[in-house]
Structures are given as C-alpha cells and as structure tokens.
C-alpha cells in the first residue's frame, strides 16, 4: 500500500474531474442540491454519507445513468453531459457496483470484452486473442484465473476483480467503487487494496464509497461527505478525525460508536450437539462439520469466520433453510428441536435475518406494513381473514419503535434506503416474538446512525431474555457486541474466545485455520 501524504496527492496534481452545483430531482423531490465533487489523478477520494445521502445518485449522474440534472461536469477541461452509461464508459469512467453485473454463464474473457468483442476482418470472433488479452490484464493485477471458465464458478471476490479488469480494459481514468468490500473476506480485501495501489500509481482517480470506518481511513486520501443530498465538505483524510467525520455524516455527535454491553449469564436456551450440514454434490467437506455449542438467554454469541467458513451455513442449517438434511441434536428451551423447515423454526420462536436482504430478506414490491407482518401473518388472520386494523396498528407501533423513516406505512419496501429496509426486516422478525435471533450481517450496507440504533436494539432484546447468534464481517462490531465468539474454519469450530480474551489478531488467526489458539 502506498503511503500518501495528507491533504494533497503526492504526484500529478492534474484534475481529472470536477462536478459543480449538481442538482437532481425525482418527480419533484430534490435528492441532490448544489453538490460539488473533485477528483485528482492518483488519489482515492472517499465519498461518505449515510444511506440516502445521495451518493448513489451522484455516481449515477457521473456514469450517465441519469442524464437530466442541473450543474456542470468537467472532465479535465471538457464540459460533458453523458446521455448513457456507454458514453461515460467511452470517456473513461467505469463503475463497479455493489452487485456484480457480470453475465454468470459466460466465460471470464467473454465478460471482460462483452459488447466490444475482438473480431477478425470477416466478422468472426477471435476468442484466442481475447483470452490472451484477458489473461494479460488479470496478471497485471496479480491474478491467475482460467479465463475460459464461466465467471459464476468463481467466488465473488474474483468476480469483482474481473469487473475491475473490465474497467481497466476500457482504459478508464476514473474508477468508481461502490462498497466493493461488502462481500469480501479479509485477505481478499487486502488484495483489492493492493490493486487500488497499482491503479493509483497508474494515475487513475478512484472514487470509493464505503461505510466501514477502518477501511476509509486506510485508503482515503481525501473525503467528501454528503448529507441529505447536500454537500457538507471535503477534507484530507488525515485532517478529518473519525469523530468529526461521523458528525459530518449524521449532523450530530455520536459519543461512542458502540453501546456498552453487560451480560451476566442466564439459563441455556439453545443447545446444539454434533451439528453437521452436508455440502452440495461433490463438496470436499460438509458446510458445517460436527459443531457443538450452547447459547444462554440474554447472550450474544458471535460466529466469526472468513467467507466459506460455514458460519452462515450454520445459521441457515439450524433454521431449516436447507430443509431436514441437517444432522445432529438440537434442544431449544429444554425441549428437543427437530430441524425441518423455516416455517417450523418460526413456530418454535427462531428467527433468521439473512445476509442478503435483496435476495431473500424482503419482498421489495410489498409495503412496509405487509413485509412487517409476513412471518407472523397467522397472528393477524384468525381463520385466514386478515384483520387490517390490527395489522396496521402493529405496523405503526413497529415503525415507531424501530424509527423506520418512510413516507407512510404503505410505501413499497424496495423504495426505502438500505438501513430502513434492514429495519423493516428486523421488525418482521420481532413481530414473530422470537426467543433466539440469528443475525447474519445485520449492519451490512447500513449507515452509521442506523448501525448504532441496531446495536442498541440488540442490547434491548438480550435484556428482554432473547439470545442472539451474530455474524458480522466488521471486526470491531464483533468484538464490541459479542459476549463470546466461536471462530469457524472449513465448517469446524477452530476457536472459542471469551469477550475479554478476544482480539482481532486471535480471531483472524483462528479464522485462517490456526487451531492452536483454541481456548475455552
């Protein structure tokens, strides 16, 4: 990682991009108001702000997805107004979105050159040439990948690299990364940062969007903050302390990033013995391999592990996502519990907040109200007939207690910001009255203020006697919130750490397979 002095980028102070007085409205609602953003060659410029602050909108304007806005965009000395993403791309602006936008069944090489395939004179494709070029580009970033295999066979991290290579193959000067690390493991993040270093040296400017403080301070040269669609300010990262940054983002002081937690022990509520979740066809080892543990009422048990460690599969397996394929014995509140199906688990007061709210957390077309009651609808519909008044009352209470920000209870969930979507899903599970909550990345893609609210809610629920199994890829969050931490590696528990013993280093060691740290 190149160390770059605070304030100004070390080399080439050439200005790549200047956006000034950008105003954008959606059907009359102003979502961006006089926003300014500047990008120099060779810098990583972090664009920060809560969800709904207007970061995505700004990026979409820059990348040509929205062409009706007010204000000026200058690339170098030229004033531009892109009518389409293709036009922006042709002008050297590439965006790597949170969601991978590759064509899964197509090969790596074909994906990189999609839309401008190398062709011979007669119009025939030239796959060999294309593959060679793809291999060369990947090697420049230190990646060795079989470029003829379908891209969907690779982990998300590699897919992301492919996206970056695709951007580079356009000779892009400006590369936008929208939360690129949200689905990466620690070593993968390191690799990404190394690549960013390479890109900086080439003189590219990188616009980086992230919610992770740690990450922001590691790579940012400068930080620009947006709040509620307005420009708050730009400052060199070294001159903007974390507390100040948070104040800029939320507009108020958050004294402490994590609330205090007290756990003094309670009765065992969930006991798991020799749990095994079989892997798919041809898998080398089970997803979860002979895992035993217990959780007490009021306790938060953290499940650490890198991607593919099986921690997420453990929660899904227990919850019945994979059906009755799970082996082992489980007892819940002293009674034996048979893993059957999600419906059965919900009946027995389990709840699972999955780590991908778009794929399997919410029904985006349904209203807040309908999402909130989806898992507990029987409560509101004796004999099958929904009692609307009761449902709406419950929805209003939940919206208030979780501080969900929306125009009304009947707004479609798909139109909410990420943090509010997450709150709706949490609300859905609370409505079922769970005794054990499985939370898989509850703060992923959620802004700072909402994160804090979620931490406080977790404390409230445990205080009320709930047990929580928590997975989070943010180490500080895990260390602050979990009372005990199980570290998993290849489907097995490689360490169990008490709150006081746990450190970032120990967790990482165990997560990378060093069993010597096992402690009890």
């Amino acid at each position: 990682m190149s160390q770059i002095g605070p304030g100004s980028p070390a080399r080439s102070p050439e200005r790549l991009l200047l956006m000034e007085d950008i105003v954008k409205s959606f059907s009359g609602v102003r979502v961006l108001d006089s926003v300014r953003f500047e990008l120099l060659a060779g810098e990583v410029h972090v664009l920060a702000g809560e969800n709904g602050a207007g970061k995505s909108t700004l990026i979409k304007i820059l990348s040509g997805a929205y062409s009706d806005y007010q204000g000026t965009i200058r690339l170098g000395e030229r004033t531009v107004n892109f009518r389409s993403p293709q036009e922006a791309l042709a002008n050297g602006i590439s965006v790597i979105y949170q969601e991978i936008s590759l064509v899964g069944p197509m090969s790596v090489a074909d994906n990189i050159f999609l839309g401008r395939e190398t062709v011979r004179a007669a119009g025939w494709l030239a796959p060999k040439v294309q593959q060679q070029e793809a291999r060369r580009l990947l090697e420049e970033l230190g990646l060795e990948v079989d470029v003829t295999r379908p891209v969907e066979e690779y982990p998300v991290s590699v897919q992301q690299m492919v996206e970056i290579v695709k951007a580079l193959s356009y000779d892009s000067q400006i590369i936008v990364m929208d939360e690129p690390t949200s689905s990466l493991t620690e070593p993968e993040v390191e690799r990404l940062f190394a690549i960013i270093g390479v890109l900086k040296q080439r003189g590219c400017g990188i616009i980086y969007i992230s919610h992770k403080m740690e990450e922001i301070y590691r790579i940012a040269d400068r930080i620009t903050v947006l709040r509620d669609g307005r420009y708050v300010g730009t400052r060199a990262a070294a001159e903007l302390p974390q507390a100040e940054l948070i104040r800029w983002m939320v507009g108020r002081e958050i004294s402490q990033q994590f609330p205090r937690r007290d756990f003094s022990g309670g009765p065992v509520i969930l006991k798991v013995e020799h749990l095994t979740v079989p892997g798919g066809k041809g898998a080398a080892h089970p997803l979860v391999d002979d895992v035993s543990f217990e959780v007490r009422a009021g306790e938060i048990l953290g499940l650490a592990g890198l991607q593919g460690s099986g921690n997420s599969d453990l929660l899904n397996g227990l919850f019945g996502t994979f059906g009755a394929t799970v082996r082992g014995s489980v007892s819940l509140e002293g009674r034996p519990f048979e893993v059957r199906s999600p419906a059965h688990s919900i009946d027995r007061s389990l709840a699972l907040l999955t780590n991908d709210r778009k794929a399997n957390g919410m029904v985006p077309q349904m209203s807040i109200s309908h999402n909130l009651t989806l898992a507990s609808l029987e409560k509101f519909s004796a004999l099958g007939w929904i009692e609307s008044a009761k449902e709406i009352q419950a929805g209003r209470n939940r919206m208030e207690s979780l501080r969900i920000k929306a125009a009304s209870l009947f707004q479609e969930v798909g139109t909410l910001s990420g943090g509010n979507q997450q709150k709706v899903i949490l609300g859905k599970w609370l409505e079922t009255g769970p005794r054990v909550l499985f939370l898989d990345e509850p703060t992923r893609g959620v802004d700072v203020a909402v994160k804090h609210e979620i931490y406080e809610l977790m404390n409230q629920w445990t205080a009320a006697g709930c047990a929580i199994l928590l997975i989070t890829s943010e180490m500080p969050e895990l260390l602050a919130m979990a009372d005990r931490i199980l570290v998993m590696y290849r489907g097995r528990v490689s360490a169990e750490l008490d709150r006081r013993q746990a450190t970032q280093e120990k967790i990482l060691q165990a997560a990378m397979g060093e069993t010597s740290v096992r402690q009890t």
Partner: protein, 337 residues
C-alpha cells in the same frame, strides 16, 4: 428518500395521479371507448344493448383472466386455461345433456376437474421445480387431448347419437337456459354477473385473505417468503388450482352460451387472458397487481373487439389493430424507471 427533503414545485398532483396503474389502465380504456364514440357505426355504439352484449362476450375471458391474475401475481403463467375451458365445457355438456346428471352435481364435478388440472400443474411447478411455462404448456396439450378423447372429437350437443347411428334431439337442461339468461330487467347477462362475482371474489382473496397476501409474497420474492415461513409449494398449488377452477367456471359459461360442449372451445383463449392481465397493468414479473386492473383490461379488450365488430372491420385489419392497441396499452402501463 429522506424525510427532510421537501417536495419541489413540479411534483404536481396530476403527475402523481398519472403514475397510478389504475389511472393508466383507465386511460387505455378511455382511448378505446373514444374510438367507439368516433366510429359508432351509425349510432350502434350508443345503444345499451351493444354494451351489454360486449360484457356478455367478454365475460368468459374475464373469468379466465381472474385466475390468470392470481397466477401471474405469484410470478407464474398459466397457458392451459383455454384447454381446460374446452375440457370442462365438454364435461359439462356430456354430464348434463347426455348423461342427464343432476345439474348442480355436474357443476361440482366440472369444478373438481378444472381445479384438479390446475392443481396438477401447480404440483409439477412447486414439487418438481418445472418452469410454469413448461408445466402449463404440457397441461394445455394434455387437457385438449383429454377433451377430444372424452368427446370422441365431436361437439357434445343436444343431438345424441342412437345405437343405430341416427341422431336424436333432446332438450337442453334448464341450467343452460339459466346461465344463458339475462336478469335485472334484461340488462345484465348471467355470465357477466358471474364474472363480476369472480372479480369480487378475487378481490377478497387478494386483499383480505392470508393466502392472497402469500400470493404477492411468493411472486415478489419466493426465497424471502419461504424463509418467512410461507408455505410456498402450497401457495403455488392453490394459485394454479384456483386458476383451474375459474377455467371450469368459464367452460360451463361457454357451454351454456353455445348450448353444446365443443372440444375445440377456448383455442388460443390463454393469449387473450394474458393480454387482458397485461393491459390492466399487472406485471408479468409477479408480486404486483390487483384484480380491478384486470377488470379494466377485460373491458378494454371487450370494447376493442366490439368496436371492430360493429364496424364490420375485416379480419386482417382487426388483427393488426388489436396488436397495435395492446402495444399502446402496455406502453401506457410502462413505469419510468
């Protein structure tokens, strides 16, 4: 969107109104009705009878579209509706005319047959993960074959073949006249009434019943619904089963209006039913839509056919005009993203 942002001046009420799918569906209907006012065929369009007959003509399609709406909301499609209509029309005529069964028993038997066809498609889709398009395509072919098998390829009419090969004419059972009649001072046909009852029934299912809510959840995000404890497989079987039930109802109405069961009845009706749902504005992607939109779509198609018919427009022009109107209506419905 954030609560602190105040609406700008251009967010007029009109613009917001125009975004509502109901208003857009009404607009399509309005355009077609305006066509009728202009091309009124020497005043024929202004007669009440024309509108009543339009409603009668389109009722069978409307009933099919009710079931189709349910299925499409679950993010599926039912291509078998026309064939199942043909099958139940044959069964209804066979049981009531030729075998002389007690009429209401016949009706129940037809409902059971229709619902069984639908539920079978649903089970294939839910249990064996066959794509709805394929499963219902298979059912479409199978049900048509069954209809031909049961009827021996002949229309089941009031002409009954005697053992000596001659034909004997029998009276139609009273239930045919009952269904083919008009009520409320001759102002509403019974089949139209049945369609309206179907629409109202679907409204109750979709808006008031837990299972209706599950249709939307499964169509919107099947995996999220499953993880929320929604019995996804049962929901699908129910949706297709209900579609089959509506097919049976439509088949009975068709037979009652023709006074016979034609094994070829309902050919290509599935396309009209899908067109109705889509013109109404229900997205084929599932998770969205209401039955009122389908009712508006039914009226739009009905008026379109009626206007073309009273003006005696030739077949070729009819097809072209219908295609164009469908595109215009769907363009109306397209949301700007």
């Amino acid at each position: 969107m954030n609560g602190q942002i105040s609406p700008g001046p251009e967010n007029s009420k009109l613009a917001r109104l125009f975004r509502s799918p109901t208003v857009r569906a009404l607009l399509s209907l309005l355009v077609v009705v305006l066509l009728g006012l202009v091309f009124n065929a020497e005043g024929a369009f202004f007669k009440w009878g024309t509108h009543r007959d339009m409603l009668r003509q389109v009722s069978v399609f409307g009933i099919l579209a009710c079931g189709m709406t349910l299925v499409i909301i679950t993010s599926g499609i039912d291509l078998s509706v026309g064939s199942v209509l043909g099958l139940t029309a044959v069964l209804f005529s066979l049981f009531s005319i030729h075998l002389g069964w007690w009429p209401w028993l016949t009706v129940v038997a037809c409902f059971a047959a229709g619902a069984a066809c639908g539920a079978a498609s649903g089970a294939l889709i839910a249990r064996f993960n066959i794509q709805p398009f394929i499963a219902t395509l298979a059912m479409m072919v199978f049900a048509r074959g069954l209809a031909k098998f049961v009827s021996g390829g002949q229309k089941i009419s009031t002409a009954v073949m005697q053992p000596d090969g001659t034909y004997q004419y029998v009276e139609v059972p009273r239930i045919f006249d009952l269904l083919n009649a008009r009520i409320l001072g001759e102002n509403l046909t019974v089949v139209t009434l049945i369609m309206l009852v179907c629409v109202a029934g679907c409204y109750l299912v979709l808006a008031k019943l837990r299972w209706g809510r599950y249709f939307y959840a499964v169509g919107g995000n099947e995996e999220a619904a499953r993880l929320s404890g929604v019995p996804v497989a049962a929901v699908k079987v129910l949706a297709y089963g209900l579609s089959g039930f509506f097919c049976a109802l439509a088949g009975i109405c068709q037979a009652a209006q023709e006074l016979q069961g034609d094994p070829e009845a309902g050919m290509a009706y599935e396309l009209t039913a899908i067109a109705i749902v889509v013109i109404g504005g229900t997205s084929l992607r599932g998770g969205r839509g209401t039955i009122w939109l389908t009712l508006l779509g039914t009226m739009t198609i009905g008026y379109l056919e009626k206007i073309l018919s009273i003006n005696a427009v030739g077949e070729a022009s009819r097809l072209m005009l219908t295609g164009m109107i469908i595109i215009v209506a769907v363009l109306f419905q397209k949301r700007e993203s």
